[in-house]
């Protein structure tokens, strides 16, 4: 948005079979993706998450715990990462459970290389948009924080649908003062219209009585 280069996407692979780890690593590198492989879930957890879109390729059966349990554990720890599952069993109930829990794809081994690459691209795209949403929200919050407390108050009342007169009455100030503050809020927030401001107030959760 502001021209800052996007951090490199990174693909994680967890599988206890070394030869499959290498093969997948090579496949992802062949299309220019960066890859980090792990033999176990605990190895993955001790790795520091980078700043950039990521996607996790995971076998449903890991040494010590199932991929599905690991998926649930990540969700509990609020680690929001798209997961592509692989399985050597073609277990349908497992597939259903994984997909319901938000998995990007469930690929039975042996899978087509293109299917794996497509699934990972979808996962990275999903993470990209999640990151962007989170980013936008953070930016909006930063601008909102530059408003004076009176301006923040007026933003909440304006976006709740109150007229200048009502706001003046409620705050015990003149209508002119409200108008000035309101103009400042619109300018600082970069809102093009009242509707735009309402959307921002919603995202920030500051709309009075909403």
């Amino acid at each position: 948005m502001n021209g800052r280069p996007e951090p490199q996407p990174l693909v994680f692979v967890i599988d206890d079979d070394a030869s499959l780890r290498e093969a997948l690593s090579s496949l992802f590198r062949s299309v220019g993706l960066q890859v980090k492989t792990f033999a176990s879930a605990s190895e993955f957890l001790s790795f520091k998450m980078p700043d950039g879109p990521t996607c996790l390729v995971l076998d449903v059966r890991l040494p010590g715990l199932s991929g599905l349990d690991f998926q649930a554990e990540l969700a509990k720890a609020h680690i929001d990462i798209p997961i592509v599952f692989m399985t050597g069993h073609g277990d349908i109930p497992m597939t259903v459970r994984a997909m319901k829990a938000g998995a990007v794809e469930f690929l039975p081994k042996p899978f087509r290389d293109q299917d794996m690459l497509d699934a990972v691209q979808i996962g990275l795209e999903r993470d990209r948009s999640r990151r962007k949403n989170a980013d936008d929200a953070a930016k909006l919050k930063a601008i909102f924080d530059t408003l004076t407390s009176r301006e923040q108050e007026i933003m909440g009342l304006v976006t709740a649908g109150l007229m200048n007169k009502q706001i003046a009455g409620e705050l015990g100030v003149s209508e002119i003062t409200v108008k000035v503050h309101r103009g400042n809020v619109m300018r600082k927030m970069g809102a093009k219209s009242l509707a735009d401001l309402v959307r921002m107030a919603d995202a920030l959760g500051v709309r009075r009585g909403a």
Partner: protein, 469 residues
Amino acid sequence: MSTKPTIKRRGAARVRGKQRTRRRAAPRRREATAARLKRELNEALQQQAATAEVLQIIASSPGEPQPVFDAILKHARRICDAEFGNIYRWDGEALHIVAWHNTPAAFAAYRARTPFRPGLTSLIGRMIKTRTVAHVADAAVNEEYIKRRDPSLVAAIEIGGVRTYLGVPMLKDDEVVGAITTFRQEVRPFTDKQIALIADFANQAVIAIENTRLLNELKHRTEELGRSVAELQHERANKLMNLEAMTASISHAVRQPLASIASNGGAALRFLRHAPPNLDETRLALDRMVSDSHLASQVFDNIRALFGKADHGHESIDVNELARGVLQSLGQEFERHGVATDVALTAVLPPIMGHKGQLQEVLINLVRNAIEAMADVADDRRLLRVSAERDAGNQIVVAIEDSGPGVDPRQSAKLFDAFVTTKAQGMGLGLALCRMIVERHAGALSIEPGVPRGSIFRLVLPAATCGGT
């Protein structure tokens, strides 16, 4: 029953004869005859009613002869005008009292303590031997009592106050199955008709006993049949399950290298399309494809080695050596997973006969399972205990105990059904396959909870008998 018409005919003929010769005395005689006939008719009706009732009880209680015995004694005593009566059953060695009616308690207790045994020296003993009725008009003057002091007769007289005594054997196919005895405490012999009636009752008692026996046998056979059908079904299900487990295990083992091959192939093609083509990466990917192909074909070699010539590969195996070898080969895995080991082998164990490769795979799988089970346990608490010993039944018992969280006892039976394959290197057999292999060695594989936590897998194999090939 059969004697009745004869008596009637004889009586009638006599009446006619006497009418001709002595006309004057006729009315009084006719009256007497009529009264006698009436009495006889009453007796016959009574007998018939009693017989019918006993038959009815036989029909309504097919699995239980006791009510039949009780009814027989009740009627026999009343109709035959006896003081009391007993019924005995033959168990192959002696007659045991099973029912009594109005019998003095002390006498019944004596009979219960002292069963009759066959022999020619006692009255009942002789009855059992000869299968004939024993009828003693006055027991007190009987020489068995006076001279031989037949203990059963002594008891009857001195405890039961018996004078007249009747014993009728219960016969089936000319074999004694029991006896009915009836007693009078005064000297008054039983009539032929009364003896015939008791014989009828004896036959009815035999029918009741036979009915019960047949019914119980039928029940027993039906249960047995049901059991063997269930066993067959279980066996069949087991076989199918083993096949399924084996297929799943093979398919899993092959899918892994195939997935690698496909991925490496895709990578190689893409590296070739780079500008300029990335030949180094392409070569590496192709190299990996070649070794993955070997890995895939190795899976089949392993399977053939394991199951192909299952019974040919039997050899004498030292379980200690086998366990030591397996633990040594997995040494790196213990290190990697931070697992401490505690090995307690018994110095001298008899060898077992078996397929070394198969049993090795079983042990490897059990140990790997144990390592996996401890993945979530704190590092310093991961302990694997392996022991081998000989039990009282000349069986070798190998126990593999982990300090993991343990298995829910309700789940532990299912553990062997669900073919949870352990992957990584090697065959990665499931527990179902492990159990199949062990059972093919006439052994058993079971799981039980460890103390204070964890699981113990117990592998029991019969020791080889001397002179094994």
